[in-house]
Amino acid sequence: MTGQLKKVLLGEQGLVVIFIVAFALVSLLVPNFLTDRNMLGLLQSVVTVGIVACTMMFCLAARDFDLSVGSIVAFAGMVAVMASNATGSILLGLIAAIACGAVVGWVNGVVIAKFRINALITTLATMQIVRGFALISSDGRAVGINSPDFYQLALSKLLGIPTPIWVLAVLFAIFGFVLNSTVFGKNTLAIGGNPEASRLAGVNVDRTRIWIFTLQGVVCGIAGILLASRITSGQPNAAVGLELSVISACVLGGVSLAGGRATMSGVIVGVLIMGIAENAMNLLNIPAFYQYIVRGVILLLAVLLDNLRSSALGRR
């Protein structure tokens, strides 16, 4: 019996099983959890983390790291709002935001891959530089959105489900496909497994890494736009600490910080577990200060479980 249980929990799909059990328990025990409204609210609350986690997964899988995502999200949000206000065209604002995200990501990638600066240090630097840009651009103040159409990005619904959730779902599908079924995805995992051997096997390691960071920037741009639309303004102090939530969600989803191991399904589950925990705690009126502790404990437990799984897989 216990042997069976261990096998299920430590197997490939262990995390999914734990997620289903946790979901069922929370549904039963927490009042008002399993309602349409709450479910949509829960999904809305994980949109930013979920979107950024898509590409953070690639970053971690290639043994890299990106701390600048929170700053890029805030900066892209500012750019989107300010550019649309200035030009009167929302589309131009969106393009500008995504382009800015891409440029920051590309710079990260080039510095890391070509100049061989540690990813942690590089993105720690750009995290501060980009946050600085966001603050300077509006002199530290929030910038309101002129056009009401901009709000519609977050408010509009398709088949009763808000647009941001659709965007999240589409990105999950796209990046799941990219990871498993494209050369780019496989090269990412190979680089994380052994960068030098990958290079000697003909993988263009530098180019792949630059692409990973550029994509990360683009995705942060999308997240920044949706966030700005939801909070109806560009906030230079938005998304502070986002990088830690995103990395937590990825690690929770079984992405190895040592590189070479990642699954989209794992990351989705990781993102949802974080969302459910927060949502349930809110419904139970647990004060925010305690929520930090719970989140930390969940992360530690997840990593512990992952460790047990690795040794059960018999890494000799």
Partner: protein, 503 residues
């Protein structure tokens, strides 16, 4: 009852029975050889001895006392020390500090440096190890580091010392020093377990010998008197291997690879050579002679500072392995673990990593053809594995090598195959399979370049040998001219007599 006794050791990993019911004993003051092909269970047995792994059944006793370790630390305390192929030293610390690590003489947490140096100095002296203990380990040669590892065992008053392939990266001279040290330890009544692939060493050094095959005890010799090499090889492989080289003469065709005055940061003297279609060219030399450096330049793994490379008369401007592969040059690196295998990924992915580009559309993989490629090469190269989905780190060295060969053979338009130490750490059976494969590839018109530190190997399988010494090509011999002395003389840096090393 022997001093060190293994009784009925059994160990099963998921899907593999690594050891089944292995029993044998070793006497005090003996050097005991442990031989077997890769995957025969030697490493597992050593891991159980060191407390790194636990046997499912059976026990180990030392001096009549059953050992039950919970960890390697316990094994340490019981006087069992295992010296692994990958040495466990801290590069930034000095020899003395490494030897005192974990048991620094200290008062109130402050290291008593004088006392540490005295202790270490005395031990090194009594063991006859002449290494300056104030030097940092990172400045030592691999041979010297190995000495430090053994000194560590002596410092701990080890009763049982297991050496896992200790000479695999040593020069002949360093090996000699190691053997002298082992002789000395034998005289002091230690038990030495000597794991090696090299028959010469085992016959020269060991008093007794155990051969494992497929996790079972294949043979146990309490004395090596009257035991022949062929007999031991047969015990390891389970069949007679008459001629492991199996050389077949071939006709060399057009010049495939032409390297002209190639140089780089690690190879200052420009080097030139060529290899023809159907030819196997050997590069022999001591470690550090510049052979691997030259091959890395040919493959674009290191940036070149001058010279040209041409394949079939067409200049190759490769500045990266990525380009070299597309020009038809591939390299199997010497350091499989660091430069070859992608850890944590399956055999299937390790095979397809490069060649998948021929089956993709817009960067999207063709799963079916990847599976087919993997299955084809697993079968063709006789990779021993339960499944193509197996993580490559779970394979033995020989099988990993075959997977990497599969990676290149599944590529298209490969004209030049460079293999650097293709059979290092590989057992006899897999060796002859790899040689046979090289002959077939040469017959199909590839130019093959073999870098090897084993003279019998280059002499056994090559059509032509280039000798390197001190970063330049010092001699070239065709098969008819092969002579051990001449090759060694060209490989040695100064006018030292080759006989001393040939013996």
């Amino acid at each position: 009852m022997s001093f060190l006794e293994f009784s009925n050791i059994t160990k099963t990993y998921p899907g593999v029975r690594a050891l089944s019911d292995v029993s044998f004993g070793v006497e005090k003051g003996a050097v005991h050889g442990l031989m077997g092909e890769n995957g025969a269970g030697k490493s597992t047995l050593i891991k159980i001895l060191s407390g790194d792994q636990h046997a499912d059944a059976g026990e180990i006793s030392i001096d009549g006392k059953v050992q039950a370790y919970a960890s390697t630390r316990n094994a340490f305390d019981n006087g069992v020390i295992v010296i692994h192929q990958e040495l466990q030293l801290v590069p930034e610390l000095t020899v003395a500090e490494n030897l005192s690590l974990g048991r620094f003489p200290a008062s109130a947490g402050v290291i008593a440096r004088r006392r540490m140096l005295d202790d270490v100095g005395a031990k090194l002296k009594s063991a006859g190890i002449g290494i300056d203990m104030r030097r940092k380990v990172k400045t030592l040669s691999i041979g010297e580091r190995q000495m430090v590892e053994i000194a560590k065992a002596i410092m701990l008053d080890a009763r049982v010392i297991a050496l896992d392939e200790p000479t695999s990266s040593l020069s002949s001279r360093e090996s000699e020093i190691l053997f002298a040290l082992i002789d000395r330890l034998r005289g002091e009544g230690k038990v030495i377990i000597y794991v090696s692939h090299r028959l010469d060493e085992v016959f020269r050094l060991c008093d007794s010998l155990t051969v494992l095959r497929d996790g079972k005890l294949a043979a146990h010799h309490t004395s090596l008197k009257g035991v022949t090499r062929d007999q031991v090889v047969a015990e390891m492989v389970g069949r007679e291997i008459s001629d492991i080289w199996g050389f077949r003469p071939r006709k060399a065709g057009e010049v495939r690879l032409k390297v002209d005055n190639l140089s780089g940061a690690k190879l200052r003297t420009p080097a030139s050579f060529e290899a023809r279609a159907g030819e196997i060219v050997g590069f022999f030399g001591l470690i550090g002679a510049g052979r691997s450096e030259l091959m890395r330049l040919v493959f674009g793994a290191d940036p070149r500072s001058g010279g040209t490379i041409a394949v079939d008369g067409k200049a190759v401007l490769a500045t990266s392995p990525h380009d070299a592969i597309r020009a038809g040059i591939v390299l199997c690196s010497e350091d499989r673990k660091h430069d070859g295998i992608i850890q944590g990924r399956s055999i299937e992915e390790n095979i397809n990593i490069s060649s998948r580009r021929h089956h993709t559309r817009f960067g999207v993989l063709n799963r079916a053809s990847e599976i087919a490629t993997a299955e084809t090469f697993i079968k063709k190269l006789k990779v021993r594995t339960p499944s193509r989905r197996q993580d490559i780190v779970n394979l033995s060295g020989g099988n990993q090598q075959k997977v990497i060969l599969g990676r290149w053979l599944s590529e298209q338009g490969i004209r030049v195959l460079v293999v650097d130490e293709p059979t290092r750490g590989i057992d006899v059976g897999a060796k002859s399979e790899i040689y046979e494969l090289l002959y077939q590839l040469a017959e199909d018109g590839m130019a093959i370049v073999v870098v090897s530190s084993e003279l019998p190997e280059v002499m056994g399988i090559c059509d032509r040998i280039l000798v390197m010494c001190g970063g330049r090509i010092s001699a070239e011999l065709t098969r008819g001219q092969f002579a051990e002395k001449a090759i060694l003389a060209a490989a040695l840096p100064d006018k030292k007599t080759p006989d001393a090393i040939a013996s």
